[in-house]
Structures are given as C-alpha cells and as structure tokens.
C-alpha cells in the first residue's frame, strides 16, 4: 500500500498539479490547490523518510522503484525545498514578471513547470533503474531550462541556452557509460534486468572487466559531473544560477545540481573497493580543482547571485573531494550535499529578497538599516553556508576534513574553503552592513518571502543542534 502510494499516487498527484496549474486560470484557488498538493507530497515524504529511518525499505514494481536511505534523504530534501520555493514564488514571481514586462497570466506555465520539475526529481529519487535515473536527471534539465529563461531577457536566454546545451551533451556521456555496463552485465548473465537495477548491478559489476567498468564509470562521472557542476565542466552553472529567478536559482543550486551527485552516489555506493579505489585520484583532482576555481572566482564579483553560484562550485568540489575518501567520506559527502542544498537554497532565497526589494543584485549597501530581518537572514545564511556552528553545514565541513585525515590535503581543502569564505563574507558584509547608499527600496518585502528563508535557516540550525538522525541516515547510505 505504502509502496503504491509512493510510486503511483504521489507522482499522479504531482502530474495533476502540473496539468491543473497549466490549464486553469492563475488565481488564488490554483495557488491554494498547488500548495495543498505540495503539502501532501511533503507530508508523505516525511512519512516515507520516517519509515526508512526506522529500518524499512519501500520496494515497488519488482525493485524498479526502491526507497532506501539515500532516496529518502533526497526525497525529503526535494520536497521541503520545493515547498519553500513554491511559497516564495507566489509573491516573488508576480513582481518578477512585472519587472520583465510579461503578463501575469503566463505565470501558470511557471507553476506548471515548477511542479513537473518536482515530479521529475521525485521520480528520480525513488528510481532504482539506472536508465530511468538517467532519463529523469536529463528531464530535470529540460523542465528547468525554460524556468531559467523565464524572464525572456537576452541574458536569461543566453544562460538557458548554455545550460541546456551543456547538460544535454554532457549527459550523453553518462548514458554511454550506463549502457556499457548494462551491455556487459547482459552479456554475462543473459538477463535483461540484471544490468538495469542498481541493486543487481552492485552484485554483478565485479564480473565486468576491471578496465571497462572503470572506464564506464569515468564516463558516468563526467556525464553527471556536468549536471553537478564540477570543474572542468561547470561552465553553465554560474550563468544559469545568476540569471534565473531566485526561487529557481534556489531549486537549481540545491536539488537540480544535487541530482548529478545523487546519481554519482547511486553508482558509487554499490561499488566494491578495488573499482572504487581507482577513482580516488579522480575525485581528489576534480574536488581540489573545483574548490579552488570556485573559491577564487568569487573574488572580485559584484553580482551576489553569481558569487553564490561560484560558491556552489566550491561546495560541489568539497563533495567530490570527500568522495575520494570512502567510506567515511561518502557519508560526509552525502551529508554535505544535504546541508549545502538546504543552505544554498536559503541563501538564494535571502538574496532574492534583496533583489526583490532593491531591484538589483549588485552594489547594495547598508541593507540592515532598511530592513534588519532581511539583512540578518542574508548574512546569517551566508555565514551558515560557510560552515559556522551552530548550523548543520559545520558538521559536514568538519566531517570531510575528518574523512581526509591527511595534513597536506586537509590544509589544501581548508585553504580553498577559506578563500571562498573570505571573498563571500566580504561581499555580503559590504552589502548588508555599512552606510546606506541606496535609499530607494522599490518594493516592500512580503511576509511570506521573509519567512521562507528564515524557516529554512531555522531548520538547518535545528539540524545543527541535533545532527544525529541526519548523520545516521547518511551513514546508512554507505555500504559497509
């Protein structure tokens, strides 16, 4: 029963939401029903997560769909962030379309695309099929690309073009790797389903020739890496993040980018040590490269959202670096993904508030004098994002260092983080504090928009003070 609801009813409900929002008039009723739909999904995700936390695994359609700890974590992450972004979008998008001279009625397509993105991410996270996973990772790109270009301005179109081109081309590499492994396992076992499901790939992958499997996995890493935004294939990320509407930036930076790493986790948590070990140098290299390129690129930025986007690259690098140190590293990588998603979404929403209020994203000063709450939220979320206690990011930043356990690499890792930290903090200090230069608050910030980032921030603070459930879940994702 639970399996059916999880795999059929909830996606259907989301599909209903998509259709409903597209074909009905954009008004209060639609908003309410959408909120209700999202709420149902959130509640169900929480329930499913609870079930998984207590030791159950939800399986449906002959293991085509399977909710284990990793899925549950991602599920709850996705649903909470979408809920917040939906609530945030109501007020934000109305102003946004006004700014770009669009009709308010077109917003129905926005909500419909948002919901279908939710659907794709939902299905992706419960899928146990390697190909279906790929299909839905690709689908997240396709559903979000029009959202990135929602403003229909030259910049946003440019960003979305880069986004779709790079992701679609890059992801083919992952498809190639997946098919290669499938083909080998099919040849060995003769069963068309053995090479399909992660649970059985894990059993048979050792029968695949070592060189081939590492090659195929390398292709997978590159492919999903494009999605995850790790150096050297991170190009689309700063553009798309900075040009998208803020709730979409939040979704992109947290769960959509995260799904690249989700797929990598899926693949790498089923591997046995000899294959995994050959990937340590790869993860180490891309991790360090991403950390440094991300951090250094923040220096001298003026656009807040662009700086945050580069910070995402840094954090993706942290995750990649952590992957180089299994098994502890994987657990902390998952935890870092979770924390980073929550906090990056918070930060983008908080920055979105500033954008909403002042109508621009650069050369702001003295925000806190205009609105203490907005200023506090922005600065607190940035500081939390950099791994200060008592927020949950602190644990994963430390945990990654713990997993590394080597002086030189730890030092490099921390130096990289440090650079990004200083650069980003500097930007936000200058923005939030200081003498007020811009006296023209264009808009008031609606209460819901103020509340959503604060709510997420509180959530991470609570997580930070009571980390053990998250830690347990992350630890359970790692094969022993």
């Amino acid at each position: 029963m639970i399996a059916e609801i999880t795999t059929i009813v909830i996606p259907l409900i989301l599909l209903l939401g998509t259709i409903l929002s597209y074909f009905t008039r954009y008004d209060g009723k639609t908003k309410a029903s959408l909120t209700l739909i999202y709420l149902i999904v959130v509640c169900w995700s929480i329930y499913v997560t609870y079930l998984v936390y207590t030791g159950n695994v939800i399986v449906a359609f002959g293991e085509e769909f399977r909710v284990d700890s990793l899925s549950a974590l991602y599920l709850i992450l996705v649903s909470s962030i979408f809920m917040m972004c939906l609530l945030y979008s109501y007020d934000y998008m109305e102003q946004y379309v006004e700014n770009f001279g669009l009709n308010k009625a077109t917003l129905k397509s926005y909500y419909s695309m948002l919901t279908i993105t939710f659907l794709t991410l939902y299905v992706m996270s419960i899928s146990n099929n390697a190909f279906i996973l790929w299909v839905f990772v690709e689908a997240t790109t396709l559903t979000t690309v029009l959202l990135v270009g929602y403003g229909r301005s030259e910049n946003s179109l440019e960003a979305s073009w880069k986004y779709i081109l790079l992701c679609v081309v890059g992801l083919t590499s992952a498809l190639y790797g997946t098919s290669l492994i499938y083909s080998y396992i099919f040849n060995v076992t003769g069963d068309p389903y053995k090479g399909l499901l992660f649970t059985s790939i894990g059993k048979y992958i050792s029968s695949v020739e070592y060189e081939t499997s590492t090659f195929a996995l390398l292709m997978i890493v590159i492919g999903y890496g494009v999605k995850a935004g790790i150096v050297p294939v991170h190009w689309w990320l700063p553009d798309a993040y900075s040009e998208a509407p803020s709730p979409i930036s939040a979704v992109l930076s947290s769960v959509v980018t995260g799904c690249g790493f989700y797929a990598i986790f899926r693949w790498f948590t089923i591997l046995s040590p000899p294959i995994y070990d050959s990937f340590k140098p790869v993860f180490l290299a891309i991790g360090i490269a991403s950390i440094f390129i991300g951090s250094l690129s923040i220096i001298g930025q003026t656009d807040l959202k662009r700086a945050l986007a580069y910070s995402s690259i840094t954090n993706m690098g942290v995750i990649a670096l952590a992957m180089a140190y299994p098994p502890l590293g994987i657990a902390y990588a998952i935890m870092h993904l979770f924390n980073h998603s929550l906090l990056k979404a918070t930060t983008f929403l908080a920055t979105g508030n500033l954008e909403h209020v002042y109508g621009r994203r650069n050369s702001l000063h003295g925000v806190i004098a205009d609105s203490p709450v907005l200023g506090f939220t922005a600065i607190a979320s940035v500081i939390a994002l950099e791994g200060s206690p008592p927020f949950s990011m602190f644990y994963s930043v430390l945990g990654v260092a713990l997993a590394i356990g080597d002086i030189a690499i730890t030092l490099i890792y921390l130096i990289g983080l440090f650079i990004g930290f200083i650069a980003l903090t500097y930007m936000f200090i200058e923005t939030i504090w200081g003498e007020k230069v811009n006296r023209n608050m264009k808009n008031k910030c609606p209460r819901l928009m103020v509340l959503t980032p604060l709510l997420l921030l509180t959530l991470t603070a609570i997580l930070g003070l009571y980390i053990s459930p998250l830690a347990n879940m992350c630890w359970r994702c790692v094969p022993r």
């Binding site: 073009w161 880069k162 081109l165 790079l166 081309v169 890059g170 590499s173 060189e211 090659f215 292709m219 590159i222 050297p232 294939v233 190009w235 689309w236 700063p238 440094f292 390129i293 250094l296 690129s297 923040i298 220096i299 001298g300 930025q301 003295g366 806190i368 004098a369 203490p372 506090f376 500081i383 200060s388 206690p389 008592p390 602190f394 430390l398 260092a401 713990l402 997993a403 590394i404 356990g405 080597d406 002086i407 730890t410 030092l411 921390l414 130096i415 983080l417 440090f418 650079i419 930290f421 200083i422 650069a423 903090t425 500097y426 200090i429 200058e430 504090w433 200081g434 003498e435 980390i467």
Partner: protein, 655 residues
C-alpha cells in the same frame, strides 16, 4: 553546575534577542550573564579547592565532555571575575554610548552571552569536535560584536580581517584536531584519544601538527607576526568588547596552547623555542609600535601584543626547559606559573584600561589622544582608576604587573644551563626588560595625554555613572591586592601547574618559590635574608606617607600655570600625542618604516600591512583572475567537454 552556567548564558542570549523591549532585553541579558559569570566564579573556586567537575552530555561520537580540572578552573576563575565586571559594565555602557543604533542593542544582547559562553566552553570541553565548535562560535559572535559600529568602513574592514584571521586559526585547529582524530580507532574526539593518537604518529608528522597548532594559537593570541588583526579589531569594537577580546579571548588560545603542548602533545624543545621566539618578537614589536600611536585603543591593543609576548615568553621558556630535561621541572613549572600569573594580571589591568577608555569615549566621543586631555579634572574617579591601571601595566612595584613580570624575569634569568637555549631565554629576558621600559613610556603617554594637560574637546564636568565606574574600581582593587599579595594568587596557580607537570607537587613549587623568589611569598619564618614582598609593599607606602607629610606645604597658593609670561588660550597649546615622542620615533623609524612626524591618524602598523596583508590581498586578486576561464562562449564550453571526452576515450583505447 556547568550546564546551568551554559543554560543561563543561552537564556540570556535568547531573552536579550527576542524580548519585546530591546532596552529591557539588553538589561536582562546583561544581568543573566552576570549571574552566570558569578556562578562560574563560584564553581571554579570550588574546583580549585579540590573538587574538579566532570560532566558528559550527549552520546556517541559527538559526546560532549566538560571538565573543570585545575587548569580550567584557574582560567575559569579569571574569566569569571572579568566577565562579572564586564557584564555589569556593558549594562550601562552600551545603553549610554550606542543608543542611536536600530537593532544594535538586540545584536549585542544576543552575542555577548554567546561570546562569553563560547569562551568558557573553549576551556572546558574535552573533545576536539566541541573545541572547534566552541572556537568557531567564539569567532563568529566576537566578529559580530566587533563590527557593532558597522556603518564605518574601517570597522568593517577591521572586522573582516579579524574574522578572516580567526577563521584561519580555526582552519589550522581543524587540521590538527581532525588529523589526530582520524588516527584514533575507534573514532573518537576525546582529548585522551587524541593524545594517544598523537603519540602513535610519525615524529615528523607530530612535529608538523604541533607547529601548526602553535601557529593557530599564535594567530588567536596575536603574537607577532600573526598579530595584524589585533590592533584593528580591538579599537573597532565597543570598549566592553575590547576588554573581553584583550582581557579574555586571547587567553583562551594560551589555555589551549598550554593544555595541548603538555597534555596532548609530548613536550618538544622546538615547540618551546618557537613559542619563546614568537613571544620575544611580540614583546619588542608590540611595545615599539604602541609608542607612536595616538589612538588610545590602538595603543592599548599594541600593548596587549606586548604583554601576550611576556606570557608566551614565559610559557615557551618553561616548556622548552621541561622538554630539555625532566630534572629541570621545577624551573619549568615556575616559569609556567609566572606566565599564568601574568596572564591573570594582564586580564585584570587590560580589561580595566579598555573599560576606562570606554568611559572616556562615553564622555568625549573620541579616541584621538591628540585632542583629548585634561580629563583628570572632569572625571576624577576614572582618572584615578586609570592611574592604577597604567601603574599595573608598567609593572611598578606593589602593583600586580610588577609581581608577575618580575617573576618572569627572575625565573627566566635563573633558568638552568642548557647550551644555547639558556642564552635564548636570557636574551628574551633582557629584551623583555627593555619592553618594560617602552611600556612605561607609552603608558605615561596614555595617561598624561588623556587625563592631564588640556583638552581640545569641551567636556562637561562630572564622571560617568557609578554603574560603570564601580566595576572598574573592583578590578583596580584586584590589581593592587594581587600586587601586594602575589603569594595568594600563586598558591592558586601552583595547583594547575603541578597537574600539568606531574614531577612537581604544589609543595615543591612553594618551596621553590621560597628559595628562588623569596620576595613573592610570605615565608612562615622570617629570617633576615628573606624579606617578604609584603615588607616591600609596606615600605613604599610608609615612605610615601612620611614623605608626603613632609612635603605637605606650609601654605599653598593656586595660580595659573606660568607660560613664560605669554597669555595663551590654554586649549590651543595642547601638546599633541602624535608628536610626544617624535624624536624617539624618528630614531627608530627604520623599524616602523613610516615618515615622522606624520599624518594625524596613524594606521596601525603600515609595515605589517605591507608585508603581511597586502601581498595576500594582491595574490588573492591575482588568483581571482582565474575566473576569466569563464569566457562566455558556449562553443568553448562544449569544446572543452568534447576534448575531455575524446581524451578519456582515447586513453581507454590506448590502455
């Protein structure tokens, strides 16, 4: 008890931040902090009397063990005293001085208790994980407090540099703790496990870790050449926060240094020598740079660097001697005691002086000694307290600064023969003595430029509110009491030291101190050759009393000062602080690398900026150009991806 203290601090923060009236919230926050500090003091005194407290909160890997052993208890005692005073002081100070700020009071009410609690936590936790937690929290909360007046660009810059430096220290601390933790099995962050992990490490790695740790602590202590944040952050902060930063926060790192080098690492001569050399450098640079400053808080900040140098000198020498040979443990423990004693005294008089500066700022709203002056008449009580403060700072006999400095000199000079190492210690002592002279010079400048002479700012008569001055008076009394009865303090300090250096018992220390430092303790029998410090303390006041009575004039007449017959407006001929020691400054200007006489407001230490800050900023800006690989053409991006794929495929085919 400990959890109650932390709970009180937390409650103070929450009530302060979220109470409906921000003024009352602030008051409640300060009062609760006061109670918590008093409780801390009480607990620490109990612990010093022999009932150490251990406590374990939470479970699993992140178990939170709190322990108040002798060393922590000693630090807690110092912290408790200063916290009590500062909480009381903040109550009125922030309200009076910083009323125009919107959410400032709330931020202050939120962060002050957190700052205090995190500093206490740093010295009480016994788990590396929670150490980092508390450390980061300390950096964060203090950063927010430092940029309290964030509208000013210099304050923000100072705050950022401070935050960056404390984060750098945290990063190094993380490296050390987590590298150690990753060598424990099963995984554990407890200090005991870290200690055994350290002992199992390769000696080179171990040495590397110890050096990294020392550097981390050096950053937080502000020893030269890692000090450049300190003369910015201290002046930028409100005075009560400066008092906490200078009086307490820099001491947390000294606690960790002492604790880690003795209990977790094994003693190493190199580390001791490193600490010693950093200490000597700090004394020299700190004192030299304090002399030309005309901003009184910058002056005090440099003075802090100098005094931290004294403490590091003593601890470094002690650790070095201890590592050299266990048979010199007595010397080592005496040096460490001297260092701890100076630490305590410095906490008292430096926070006192910063609070006094706060009084001055409240009245005049300036820190510029060029235009200050003559406040002795307007604020008699403040000036009296300031006098006690600077006499302690200089270390004149019968004030506490003397007792501890003298103990450092004596134990340093009488350290046993250890090849070249002894010479290093002796050199350190000689330079420390010279530093003492410089201390006198800048202290006199501080006092005389603020409290004597004439002022260019108009000051209303009447001292600041007694809620502000009475706490200061308490500290001033403490300065004198510990100056006259250093034995009382030492008997407390010996307990932690004897737990650090197990060869030496409290009794041996007391005997040693009687032998080497007959001046400081009250011996049970008083042979002629061993005159106690109290006698000294009695001699000077009596002599003074007699002489004062002698000097008391038969008849007094009050006249205008004689200015060579000219009629000046007295306010126009104030001697500016920035040229008070112009000749000397010119003489040593190669050391400063600045032109003298120079501009009105002197930035702290252009040298350090040139050498220590700007290269990094330039390097950062240069490396930041890396972002130009983001060329903006999608063709290039796809091309990179293309080449990457071809490389991987071809590499696969070729094996």
């Amino acid at each position: 008890m400990l959890e109650i203290i932390f709970a009180l601090f937390t409650l103070a923060a929450l009530l302060g931040a979220f109470s409906p009236s921000k003024r009352w919230g602030h008051r409640i926050s300060c009062m609760l902090s006061l109670f918590a500090s008093l409780l801390l003091l009480d607990v620490s005194i109990q612990a010093l009397e022999g009932s150490p407290i251990t406590l374990k909160l939470l479970q699993g890997i992140i178990v939170l063990p709190l322990e108040m052993d002798m060393l922590s208890a000693f630090f807690s005692m110092v912290f408790g005293i200063v916290f009590t005073i500062v909480s009381l002081y903040s109550l009125k100070y922030i309200e009076e001085g910083y009323t125009d700020r919107g959410s400032g009071l709330r931020i202050h009410a939120l962060c002050l208790p957190i700052f205090m609690a995190s500093m206490v936590a740093v010295i009480l936790v016994r788990s590396g994980f929670w150490l980092i937690f508390a450390w980061e929290l300390m950096s964060l909360s203090s950063f927010i407090l430092v940029v309290y007046e964030h509208k000013r660009q210099d304050v923000r810059n100072a705050g950022l540099i401070y935050f960056a430096m404390s984060h750098a220290a945290a990063a190094l601390l993380i490296v050390v703790v987590l590298t150690l933790a990753s060598h424990t099995s099963p995984l554990s962050f407890l200090y005991s496990s870290l200690s055994s992990a350290y002992k199992s490490l390769d000696p080179h790695v171990a040495m590397c870790l110890a050096i990294l740790f020392t550097i981390a602590m050096g950053i937080k202590s502000g020893v030269v050449p890692l000090h450049f944040w300190l003369p910015r952050a201290h002046p930028a902060a409100p005075s009560n926060i400066s008092a906490l930063l200078s009086g307490i926060m820099v001491k947390t790192s000294i606690f960790l240094l002492l604790y880690f080098t003795t209990k977790i690492f094994y003693p190493a001569i190199e580390i001791g020598a490193l600490i010693l050399v950093l200490g000597i450098l700090s004394i020299l640079i700190g004192c030299l740079y304090a002399v030309p400053q005309n901003d009184c808080k910058v002056l005090l900040a440099y003075s802090t660097i100098g005094h931290i140098g004294y403490i590091w000198l003593a601890l470094g020498a002690g650790l070095m001697i201890y590592a050299y040979s266990g048979q010199f443990a007595l010397y080592a423990s005496l040096l460490i005691s001297a260092g701890l004693f100076h630490l305590m005294n410095h906490a008292f008089f430096k926070s006192l002086l910063f609070m006094v500066t706060g009084n001055v700022i409240l009245k005049t709203e300036t820190r510029d000694m060029d235009i200050l002056g003559g406040l002795g008449k307007a604020m008699p009580f403040t000036s009296f307290i300031a006098m006690i403060g600077i006499l302690s700072l200089i270390g004149l006999p019968i004030f506490n600064g003397f007792a501890s400095k003298w103990m450092i000199y004596v134990t340093g000079i009488s350290s046993p023969a250890m090849d070249h190492l002894t010479m290093l210690i002796h050199l350190g002592v000689a330079l420390a003595l010279f530093g003492g002279t410089l201390t006198a010079i800048y202290s006199i400048k501080f006092y005389s430029e603020i409290f004597t002479g004439q002022s260019r700012v108009k000051v209303a008569k009447g001292d600041v509110s007694p809620i502000i001055t009475v706490p200061e008076a308490v500290l001033a009394i403490a300065c004198i009491v510990f100056g006259i009865f250093p034995g009382a303090a030492l008997s407390v300090i010996f307990k932690p030291v004897s737990t650090l250096i197990p060869e030496i018992s409290v009794y041996t220390l007391a005997e040693g101190v009687k032998f080497y430092l007959s001046l400081l303790v009250i011996p049970s029998t008083m042979p002629l050759t061993s005159v106690c410090f109290t006698l000294l303390a009695v001699f000077i006041p009596i002599a003074f009393g007699i002489l004062y009575a002698l000097a008391h004039p038969l008849k007094t007449r009050v006249e205008a000062p004689w200015l060579g017959g000219y009629k000046f407006d007295i306010h126009e001929i104030k001697f500016p602080a920035s040229s008070l020691y112009a000749g000397f400054e010119k003489l040593v200007s190669p050391l400063y690398r600045v032109k003298f006489p120079t501009v009105k407001v002197r930035y702290p230490e252009p040298n350090a900026d040139k050498v220590l800050v700007s290269p990094w900023v330039k390097l950062g800006a240069f490396l930041g150009e890396v972002k130009r690989i983001q060329v903006g053409r999608v063709q290039v991006y796809v091309g990179v991806l293309f080449i990457l794929l071809i490389i991987v495929l071809v590499a696969r085919v070729l094996g």
